[in-house]
């Protein structure tokens, strides 16, 4: 009797901080948040300019492109899929936008075409995955090659430059006191968050990743949802293309190589299960920031760029090892 009370008391007597942390750890975005804080603190000690306002805004601007691509990637990975085509789709959409603008098309229409093209590629991915039942990794590997090739054909392999100054606003301008890329990033995250957490469609995204068969048998139109999810991934890649074009003031057919891997890294660092069903957009944003802080900090501290990629790889492994889902028996 008394012994059982002691057990209960000691359990209740858990230090409040530890109890609080244990509650927090249930959220998938907890680990990336801790990681971001730890890495930031280390960087702040290593470099006195790291915490300056200009550097922080610099980091945010630098991560914006990866963070935008990672929005669509989060939806895709939540369903247990993957989209390798995003980097190439971004490059293609960017060159087409640049080409149309340089060719004298109305700016608004050109940007619309750019977004539409990204969307179209995504929908094509989705159609193959959802209706033909092909594995996403193969489908998007193939469309990655197609998009990259089309971009090179369209430009002849050379960058398209000579763009009007207004396009610069998307890469370097500011709106409401925020740099434009940061504002676009935050807006897209806000809209995507509402879509994922506040609409039936968002619930289907999680459900498909949780158990696709059960979701289908309960009468959800799973193929249609998948089609839209990949379409969304193409769309966010195209939004990233607009920012990139504004930053570079040109359409670069070779841009975005390996960006798909950075986006996947951000999503997974953000606590989203690669098998689907669990994860969050906030986690992805934190994951993208973590990668950005690492890039920026390692540069500022003066680490050799060759060493940097090794350090980043080790940190990703470590972070995912710590945050991995522990499947305890019972």
């Amino acid at each position: 009797m008394s012994s059982s009370r002691t057990v209960a008391d000691s359990r209740r007597g858990l230090p409040p901080v530890a109890a609080f942390l244990r509650r927090c750890a249930r959220y998938s975005a907890f680990y990336p948040l801790v990681g971001l804080i730890v890495v930031s603190v280390v960087m702040a000690f290593a470099s006195d300019t790291f915490l300056s306002a200009s550097n922080i805004s610099n980091i945010l601007r630098q991560v914006s492109i990866n963070a935008l691509i990672a929005v669509g990637m989060t939806f895709v990975i939540l369903t247990g899929g993957i989209d390798l085509s995003v980097g190439a789709v971004m490059a293609l959409a960017g060159t087409v936008a640049a080409g149309l603008i340089a060719g004298g098309l109305d700016g608004g229409l050109a940007l619309l075409a750019c977004l539409g093209l990204g969307c179209l590629f995504g929908l094509a991915n989705g159609a193959f995955v959802a209706f033909a039942g092909m594995p996403p990794i193969i489908v998007t590997l193939a469309t990655m090659g197609i998009a990259r090739g089309l971009g090179l054909i369209y430009t002849g392999g050379y960058p398209i430059s000579g763009l009007p100054a207004w396009i610069h606003w998307f890469g370097e301008g500011s709106v409401l006191g925020l740099q434009t890329p940061i504002a676009i990033m935050l807006l897209v995250y806000a809209l995507a968050w509402v879509l994922l957490e506040r609409t039936p469609f968002g619930r289907y995204v999680y459900a498909i990743g949780g158990n696709e068969t059960a979701t289908r048998l309960s009468g959800v139109r799973v193929p249609r949802a998948k089609l839209l999810i990949y379409g969304l991934s193409g769309l966010t890649a195209a939004i990233a293309a607009v920012v990139l074009t504004g930053r570079l003031m040109s359409g670069q057919p070779n841009a975005g190589q390996g960006f798909e891997l950075d986006a996947i890294a951000a999503v997974v660092l953000g606590g989203t299960s690669i098998a689907g069903g669990r994860g969050s957009l906030i986690g992805t944003l934190l994951g993208a920031l973590l990668l950005g802080v690492l890039n920026n900090g390692l540069n500022m501290v003066g680490v050799n760029p060759y060493v940097q990629t090794v350090v980043k790889g080790v940190i990703i492994l470590l972070a995912i090892y710590i945050g991995r889902e522990r499947r305890a028996a019972g």
């Binding site: 059960a214 048998l217 193929p223």
Partner: protein, 502 residues
């Protein structure tokens, strides 16, 4: 003859279910011993214990008079037990030799001794009297040949006790005869065999003795020569633990037809089935495992493709090409396997109930109305009687009965009036079963129509207003009222070729 294998007082429980108790089984060298029982009688569980996959809670296993404990499958193999599983364990892209020696390849200086392995495999097949192309990937071989490779694989491991779990289920009659010839060869060599089959004729043709199980208990053992088919069916069906079923309401003669299925053919050249369902009725789908019941309902719903089908709902012809389309027409399913097909186990009760009716909680802007979702979920949980700490409990922590109620609740917030219950009480304890049965009857009283696929005879008999009996993909008989009796159903479900010949 001497007992090579002896099982005494084997018992095994799973959470909430007593699967086996007091099972005895003795097999002698050179004997072919039939293990007989309905679906769910405990045959497969017993064979899994014998092959070390499960550990018994009580009882002992002796081989050659020595008591052994099998910690895993490898211990059983080491003791001379070989298993030919219902689902083959061959690697489809390897050939027969590679499959037989998988995991224990012969090697010299780290390199494979291919000729030596090939010779031994060829010798095994010679002994069995079968011709197998040793270079062909096994996926290109016939089902029968794959089965012979399984047998050869067990023999290559020096198996002296061979378990054949429904080996003839997927064989043509000619291939089955070939298998029996092989079994006779092995019998002469002193190999003991445990043979599981639902085909009585086969048992009478090939077996020496029969052990009958029912509801996880040992019923009896006798030589084949001393028994006949009627007596065996009686032993299998028997008088069993009384599960209480709600009373069947009198059938109203003018009940509306709500579902009519005609010309349903799952694949080209396959059997063609038809059935219909009245308002307020429970139509039981009875038959052996693999007799095509689940495939039939899945095809009707459009969850699996059908080669041809005509479906009318409330008299109107409809095309059902997906579960979503079926839902739109008022048809829902509670799948056979709750964990893999019914539920998103890591999600909450609320998510699982509302997954297919989120549209109802949409506000004008397309956003979810969480408050309304919560009140409706609570109402649904109350209606079906889910017992759980709250609607945010993850369903994986619930008992089987409560999980089934969650799946049911999902369909009640719809205009759905036709529900398919596939094995509604599998893995559910007796008390919760009664609750599920009561729920089903309360639904039919409200005008729902139910198709119930079940492998449990008492459930079929106790719940169905009519019973369609399946055998080998075909509805062979539809039974009504007084004809719905265990022995009658079993006869139609198993005694296949006999009355077709008459």
């Amino acid at each position: 003859m001497t007992a090579i294998l002896e099982l005494r007082g084997i018992a095994k429980s799973f959470p909430g279910v007593k699967a086996l108790s007091g099972i005895d089984l003795t097999v002698e060298a050179g004997e072919i011993h039939a293990l007989l029982g309905e679906n769910g009688a405990g045959k497969s569980t017993l064979m899994k214990i014998l092959s070390g996959i499960y550990q018994p809670d009580e009882g002992r296993i002796s081989v050659d008079g020595r008591t052994l404990r099998f910690a895993d499958y490898h211990d059983a193999v080491a003791a001379g037990i070989g298993i030919v599983f219902q689902e083959f364990s061959l690697i489809p892209y390897l050939n027969a030799v590679e499959n037989i020696f998988l995991g224990r390849e012969r090697r010299r200086f780290g390199l494979l001794r291919r000729a030596s392995m090939r010779d031994e495999a060829a010798g095994l097949f010679r002994r069995l009297g079968v011709a197998i192309d040793l270079d062909a990937e096994v996926r290109t071989l016939s089902v029968a040949q794959q089965q012979f490779i399984e047998i050869a694989k067990a023999l290559a491991l020096d198996a002296r006790i061979l378990i054949l779990d429904e080996p003839t289920a997927t064989l043509t009659p000619a291939d089955a005869e070939h298998l029996f010839a092989i079994m006779r060869v092995l019998k002469r060599d002193g190999v003991a065999m445990i043979f599981i089959s639902h085909h009585m004729e086969e048992i009478f043709e090939i077996c020496d003795r029969i052990t009958v199980l029912r509801d996880g208990r040992f019923i009896g053992v006798m030589p084949v020569a001393d028994t006949d088919m009627d007596r065996l069916v009686q032993m299998m069906v028997g008088r069993r633990l009384e599960q209480s079923f709600p009373p069947k309401p009198p059938r109203s003669p003018d009940a509306r037809l709500v579902l009519e299925v005609e010309g349903l053919q799952l694949e080209r050249g396959g059997p063609i089935n038809a059935f219909h369902l009245h308002e307020g009725e429970i139509l039981g789908f009875a038959g052996l495992v693999g007799s095509g019941r689940t495939e039939t309902v899945m095809a009707v719903l459009g969850a699996e493709p059908a080669y041809a089908k005509t479906v009318r709902i409330n008299g109107e012809a409809v095309r059902l090409s997906s579960p979503a389309g079926a839902l739109a027409r008022g048809l829902g399913i509670l799948p056979e396997n709750r964990k893999t097909e019914g539920l998103i186990t890591e999600f909450t009760i609320r998510d699982n109930i509302s997954i297919n009716n989120l549209g109802k909680y949409r506000t004008l802007g397309g956003f979810l109305d969480f408050a309304r979702e919560r009140t409706t979920t609570a109402e649904m949980m109350r209606q079906v009687g889910v017992k759980a700490p709250g609607m945010s409990t993850t369903v994986v922590t619930l008992s089987g009965g409560n999980q089934q109620k969650v799946v049911l609740a999902r369909w009640l917030n719809h205009h759905c009036r036709i529900l398919v219950f596939d094995e509604p009480t599998r893995g559910i304890d007796v008390g919760a079963k009664a609750e599920i049965y009561a729920l089903m009857r309360s639904l039919t009283a409200r005008g729902y129509a139910i198709v119930m696929v079940s492998s449990e005879l008492p459930e079929i008999v106790g719940m169905s207003d009519r019973v369609a009996v399946f055998r080998e993909g075909r509805i062979v008989r539809t039974l009504e009222a007084g004809d719905i009796a265990p022995a009658e159903i079993m006869r139609h479900a198993t005694a296949g070729d006999i009355d077709e010949l008459v």
